[in-house]
C-alpha cells in the first residue's frame, strides 16, 4: 500500500506542471480560435515565459505569428516565425516555420527575402521529400512578383494545382504588352494609348505631335533654322517622348488593374493554401 501511495503522490506532483502548461496552452489556443488575437498573444507569451522546459515554445511562437498575421502586423509575425524556426525540434516543424515566414514575406512584398528563402529551401537536402510543396510556394512567389507565366509553368508541375496553372495562364494572356504599346507609339504617336483603350489621351497625343511637328518643319522651310531646332527639341521631341512614356504608363497601369483583380479573386475565392 505504501509504495503505491508514494508512486501515486509522485505521479500527481510531476503531472501537475504538465497539466498547468497544457491548460494555459489550451486557454491561449481557445482565445486564438475565437479570434481574440491580442489576448491570445498575451497568453502565449505568458506560457513561453513560464515554460522553462521550452516544450510549448514552438507551437506558441507559431500561434503568435499567426495572430499577428491576422492583425496585419507582418513584421512582428515574421519575428515570431523566426523564433518558431529557432525553437523547432524536428525537420517538419522547421519546414512549417520557414514556409510561414515565406508567406509573410510575400504578403509584405519583401519579394527578395521570399526568393532567397525559397532558394535556400530548394537547395536544402532536408526538405527534398517536400519539394512539391516548396514548388507550390515558388509558384505563389512568381504570382506576387508579377511573373504569371512562370507561375503557370511552376504550377503545371504540381498535379493538384491545375486550377492555379490555368488561372495564371489566363492572367498572362489578358495582360497588355508594354513593349508593343511603346513600339507602336514610336511609329504612330498616340497608337499605344489607343491600344490600351485610352482614346482621348491617344487623340490628344497625336494632335500635339502633328502641331509641334508642323511648327518645327515650317520654321525650317522658312529658313528660321534656330526656331526650327528649338521647336523640334523643346516641343516636338518633348511631345514625342511624352507620348511613348505615356503609352508605357497606361500599359503598366492596365496590367496592374488586371493583376490586382486576379489577386483579389484568389484572396476571396481560392480555397487552397494561399499566403
Amino acid at each position: 500500500m505504501l509504495p503505491f501511495s508514494i508512486l501515486l503522490f509522485l505521479i500527481y506532483c510531476s503531472g501537475f506542471c504538465q497539466t498547468t502548461f497544457e491548460e494555459q496552452f489550451s486557454y491561449a489556443k481557445n482565445l486564438f480560435e475565437k479570434e481574440e488575437y491580442f489576448d491570445a498573444v498575451t497568453e502565449f507569451k505568458r506560457l513561453i515565459f513560464f515554460d522553462r522546459s521550452g516544450e510549448y515554445k514552438y507551437s506558441s511562437f507559431m500561434f503568435i505569428g499567426k495572430a499577428f498575421k491576422a492583425g496585419s502586423q507582418y513584421s512582428q509575425a515574421a519575428e515570431s516565425f523566426t523564433n518558431a524556426e529557432i525553437s523547432s525540434k524536428s525537420t517538419d516543424q522547421l519546414f512549417e516555420a520557414k514556409i510561414e515566414k515565406i508567406k509573410i514575406n510575400l504578403l509584405r512584398r519583401a519579394i527578395n527575402s521570399a526568393d532567397n528563402q525559397l532558394t535556400e529551401m530548394e537547395r536544402d537536402k532536408k526538405f527534398q521529400s517536400r519539394i512539391s510543396e516548396i514548388n507550390y510556394w515558388r509558384g505563389w512567389f512568381y504570382i506576387f512578383n508579377d511573373e504569371w507565366g512562370k507561375a503557370a509553368e511552376t504550377f503545371s508541375t504540381i498535379d493538384s494545382s491545375q486550377f492555379l496553372k490555368n488561372f495564371c495562364n489566363n492572367v498572362e494572356k489578358n495582360k497588355y504588352s508594354v513593349t508593343f504599346a511603346k513600339t507602336i507609339s514610336y511609329f504612330i504617336p498616340g497608337a499605344g494609348q489607343f491600344y490600351t483603350g485610352n482614346y482621348i489621351s491617344g487623340a490628344m497625343s497625336l494632335a500635339y505631335n502633328i502641331l509641334s511637328g508642323y511648327f518645327a518643319i515650317n520654321s525650317f522651310v522658312e529658313d528660321r533654322v534656330f526656331d526650327g531646332v528649338i521647336s523640334a527639341n523643346f516641343l516636338w521631341l518633348r511631345f514625342y517622348n511624352g507620348n511613348i512614356q505615356n503609352a508605357e504608363n497606361f500599359a503598366v497601369k492596365k496590367n496592374l488593374e488586371i493583376t490586382n483583380l486576379a489577386l483579389e479573386y484568389l484572396q476571396n475565392n481560392y480555397e487552397g493554401s494561399k499566403p
Binding site: S5, F16, T42, K45, L47, F49, R224, D227, I230
Partner: protein
C-alpha cells in the same frame, strides 16, 4: 500503515498548494514577473495592462510608477502624465515621478506646457538638476530661450555643453532663405531665385525655358506668325510667373528642411544620451 498513509496525504496536501501557487500564472508575483518581462521586451502596451491587473491584487505606488513608464515608452503620453501626476499629488516617489512627468512632457513635445509648469518646488537636488535640464532643452527646441536662461548651460557637463552650444547656434541663427528675396531674384533674372535656394538645375532649366520661349515668340511675331507668337509668349510668361512662385515656395521648403534637420539631429542626440537625465528609474 494507516498513519503512514495519513502522513503521505498530509504532505501531499501541504506541498500541493505551494506548487499550485508557484505555477499559478495569475498570482500577483507571477503577474509582476511577467509584466517586467514584457516591459524589458519592449512590449509596453501589454506590460502596462499586466501592471494594471496587478494593481487589482496589490495596490502599490511602484506599480503605478511602472504603469507610467510603460505608457511613456509606449508613447501613450497623456495617460503616462496622468499616472505620474497622481503620484506627485500623493507625494509618493516624488523626485522620480517629477522627473518622469517632465520627461514625458518633453517626449510629447509639450514644450509650452513644460516651460509654463516649470517651478522650483522639487523634492531633491537630483530631481531639481534633471528638471532644469529638461526645461533648458525645451527652451532650445521651441526657440524660446532668453538671456538669463543661458546660465542653465552650467548644469551640463563639458561635453554636453559643447554640443548644446552648437544646437543653440543653429536654432538662434538658422541658415534660412528669404522667400521674398527668392521671388524678387527670379523676377529680375528667371531662375536666379532657385539658384539662391540651392536648386541649381531647376534654376538653369527655368532660365533656359523662359528665354527660349520668349525668343521663339519674338521671332514668330517677326515672321508674322501671330498665333504662334502668342502661344510662345504665353508659354514663356507661364514659365516666368511659375518660376517666381516656385522660387518663393522653394525658399519655404528649404527653411522647412533646415528646421526638420535641426529637430531630427536634436532628438537623435537626446535619445542616444537618455535625454541627459542623470537619475534613471530602477525597478525595485
Amino acid at each position: 500503515m494507516k498513519k503512514i498513509l495519513l502522513i503521505v496525504f498530509t504532505l501531499n496536501g501541504m506541498i500541493f498548494p505551494q506548487l499550485n501557487d508557484s505555477l499559478n500564472f495569475h498570482s500577483p508575483d507571477n503577474i509582476n514577473k511577467f509584466a517586467d518581462h514584457l516591459y524589458y521586451s519592449k512590449d509596453y502596451f501589454r506590460a502596462s495592462l499586466e501592471y494594471e491587473r496587478l494593481l487589482n491584487f496589490v495596490p502599490n505606488d511602484t506599480t503605478v510608477f511602472k504603469i507610467g513608464l510603460a505608457k511613456q515608452n509606449g508613447k501613450q503620453y497623456n495617460l503616462a502624465l496622468s499616472d505620474f501626476n497622481d503620484l506627485i499629488n500623493k507625494k509618493s516617489l516624488l523626485s522620480e515621478s517629477y522627473i518622469q512627468y517632465y520627461k514625458t512632457l518633453f517626449l510629447a513635445e509639450y514644450d509650452s506646457l513644460l516651460i509654463t509648469s516649470y517651478s522650483n518646488r522639487f523634492y531633491d537636488e537630483v530631481a531639481y538638476h534633471d528638471i532644469h535640464k529638461l526645461y533648458f532643452l525645451s527652451l532650445i527646441r521651441s526657440g524660446q530661450i532668453k538671456g538669463k536662461d543661458f546660465e542653465l548651460l552650467e548644469r551640463f557637463n563639458k561635453e554636453e555643453k559643447t554640443v548644446l552650444k552648437r544646437f543653440l547656434e543653429r536654432k538662434i541663427q538658422p541658415d534660412h532663405k528669404s522667400p521674398i528675396l527668392a521671388a524678387v531674384l527670379s523676377s529680375v533674372i528667371p531662375g536666379l531665385g532657385k539658384i539662391y535656394t540651392a536648386r541649381y538645375e531647376e534654376g538653369i532649366a527655368a532660365f533656359l525655358l523662359t528665354t527660349v520661349f520668349g525668343y521663339l515668340s519674338y521671332t514668330n511675331f517677326e515672321a508674322d506668325h501671330k498665333i504662334r507668337g502668342w502661344i510662345f509668349a504665353g508659354t514663356s510668361f507661364l514659365f516666368y510667373a511659375g518660376n517666381i512662385y516656385g522660387s518663393a515656395a522653394s525658399a519655404n521648403i528649404y527653411n522647412a528642411a533646415v528646421n526638420l534637420r535641426f529637430d531630427t539631429d536634436f532628438n537623435f542626440y537626446l535619445k542616444n544620451n537618455d535625454y541627459l537625465i542623470t537619475k534613471e528609474p530602477v525597478f525595485k
